[in-house]
Amino acid sequence: MRHDEPMHYTPVLAADQPLDDSLPPEGADREKEPPRDWAALIFRPLIISGMVTCVAAGWIMSLEFLLPNWRGDYLIALVAVVTLEMLLMEQQLRKRRIWIAEPWQIRLAQMGLILLLLKPATYIQRGWLALFTDGQLWLRQPTAFFDGDYIIGMVVLLLMWLLAMDIAGQLMAIQDAFNAAEREAGLSALKERFMFGALVLLAAVGAQRIDYSAIGLHVRLSPATAVTWLPLVYVGLGLLLFGQARLEILLSGWQRDQIPVPPMLARRWAGWGALFVLGVMVVALLMPAGDTVLGFYLLLWLISLAALIGQVFVFILFMLLGLLLSPCLALFKVQQMMPPLQPQLPSAMIEPPPSETGPAWLFYLKMAVFWIVVVVSVTLLVRIYLRERRSVGGWGIWRGLVKMWQALWAWLMGVKERVTVRFNRPRAAQPITLPEAEPGWWQFWEARSARERVRRFYLALLQRAWQAGHPRRPDQTPSEYAAALKPHVPGDESALDALTSAFVQARYSRRDFHPDEVGWLRQVWQKLQARLRRG
């Protein structure tokens, strides 16, 4: 015996809609192995890498500003890739709890490889021929290997590497904190790093606003460039980083209290956080800026926005008009414009290598020794790197990417299947029904054949009779119905008989109607319609 009350319902500050109980219980899948959360795995390294890249980009752009002949764009991409790889590696090391000497082997191998790769990267803009030429020069002058580009790249990479390591370390310190005080200390340290990076970046941005050609220093208002957005991106990423730090603080508290946390929380935190910050940034970018009255800019912005909307409307209008008139364009022969001729440039002359002093075999021996050393070193570094990288399971990201691609492919195939099924589905037979409303002119225009027009006259008459309160029963034949309808069309009985007879012939025989006869039947139908309308 048991007394079950149906439901205890308690709305909390909100509306009253019944809740569906067809839900799996929260934490029902807790016992299962949590899925590998690629968002949580890669999100933090991406944030830190992005922040560090912003700082690096600021300084690289400033250097380009100061040294007009030097281009360091490749370094920005390199910093992004290197720091991301390094952070992912650190994450894997941490996950596998490898704390002792091994990480340094991995890091050294990693850094050695990166510095080696940096050298060819410096030739991306100079060209591979220059690399070949310089490669021969390094035989005679090994110090030539360390040219200005390479040293700048090394310094930038090493500094950014250290900065990224420091930020990641502070985030991990929050994660590993034993108590609230340690967490607060970790958060403060993270703020300090953030502020340091911001100041470095702002200094780099500010360096571009100084006119060095003048005697005295003064601020030069430059138009908005990529440098303008860098602090914005940096702050946005920093906010996301603080969001992650906040998540870590909450998670550690919940873990201490042994409160179960859903595995998707980290993913949602990352996704919603990114959406939130990105949305605010997009709105911010639409706002006016500068050192004038903000309201004026805002007003101008609103006016321009209204104008833009108007332009969009006009564009859509003209596009539709153009689409309507596009068949007419076929009447005109449009002459294809010829592309402008490109001037033939003389092919670059390859400078022959400078002549070597001494016997030729010595030159080849030196070259062979040099390249053997280089190849052995590179092979060794790659071997160490790959071995250690594989041992810490760092290829999960690639597996994740493969899985993502497989999921995307499966989704695309599913869409294709749905589309195929949708378009190959046999159309259901349309039920033949009487027209519910009086046929319009377009329906008569549509009924091109005389038989069809006669049939429509009769059906329209049925519709009118139904509206007048004399509906035809389903079991009545046309003749029976005509007999039943005659009392309601006094004086027009013969007309009714004629239209009924014409309908029967049009519907059940192969007789064709002369247009004059159709015209006469039309008059008959109109007469009957008028009679029924009068009641």
């Binding site: 909390v12 109980d21 969001g243 919940w254 949602r268 919603w272 706002m287």
Partner: protein, 392 residues
Amino acid sequence: MNLAPILIAVVVIAFFTGSDSLFYLAYVLGGIWLVSFIWMRQALTGLQTERRFPARAFHGEQVTAELLVANRGRWPILWLNLHESLPIALHSPNFERRVVSLAPGEKTRLDYQLKCQRRGYYMLGPLSLHTGDFFNLARERDATVTAMPFIVYPRVVPLRQLGLASQLPFGDLSTQQRIFEDPSRFFGVRDYQPGDGLRQISWKSTARAEHLLVKRFQPAIALNTLILLNLNVEEYALRSRAMAGEIGIVVAASFAAHLIEKRQPVGLAVLGMDAVTEQVGLQVIAPVRGRDHLMRLLETLARAELASTHPFVETLDQASAKLGWGSTVVIITPGESPHLVEALLQLRRRGVQAQLIVTDPLAAFQDLRGRLEQIGIPAFWVTQEKDLDVWR
């Protein structure tokens, strides 16, 4: 995180330098703060919760309670810390906690088990809800959902035969005391004996057998019974009061269930405290038949608690005042109280059949039973549930 100083500094510097970057930075920081503030104000307004569980359960049952949480609002709830307070007697630990995340329109369900090992009147909840934003910019929000009552009935031991006696002639239960016969329960015929009344003669049987036969009826007694439970803590020994009190409640519930099953009217008088109303004293429920009445009795017993109140003997008259001649009183008490035997004798003289059940294992039961036997009142010593076997 306090964003205000940074925001003010950025705005001031932006106005002084006219830097686009700083203006945009100010917009972003201001926008983040503003949206976080609005978000937190709106976050819990669309939240709905619902607790689903049977309001009552029997002793030994395991009940699943469901807590449904839905976000009907337009703002997502990034994280929501749920803390459901629960009675330690039903759930260990005495709470259920979970962190959930709810998108707009999303629902989630939390299940937890309630092990009903102890009778009582419990409250499930309150449920505390706590949420916050991404960056700890806005004040974190709390809400509370009120607790709901949940009753665990006392353990009911099935008794097949109680052996309670009554002096009323027309009842439903057959008895071995063939004093009164119920004319509605035809049993058979026997030969006429001198002294039998003419109304007792079965004329149809007499005609068929060609000698006088008399109708026989099944003897019956009525059990218009009142169960009187003493939960006055002053009369319990300190060492055994918890166990003796609980066993008394089990005995009372078992008797009530058995008699109601036999379609007998049963009343209940509890001297103690109602855990819900916190009223201390004597609570009397008049004898009534029916399963609904049993639920009422069990609920009363579920809510009963030991309390310091009037002496039990003083309330005997008040409790049994409305009982008629031939009724039965089952008195459940921890042991002998001053003037208890005299009070029972008074009941007996009023025509009320009394039975005494002693529940305290430390009570001087044998002496008490000897004195009660002298006045014809049966007494039983039930200190654990297996002692109820005497009635099984």
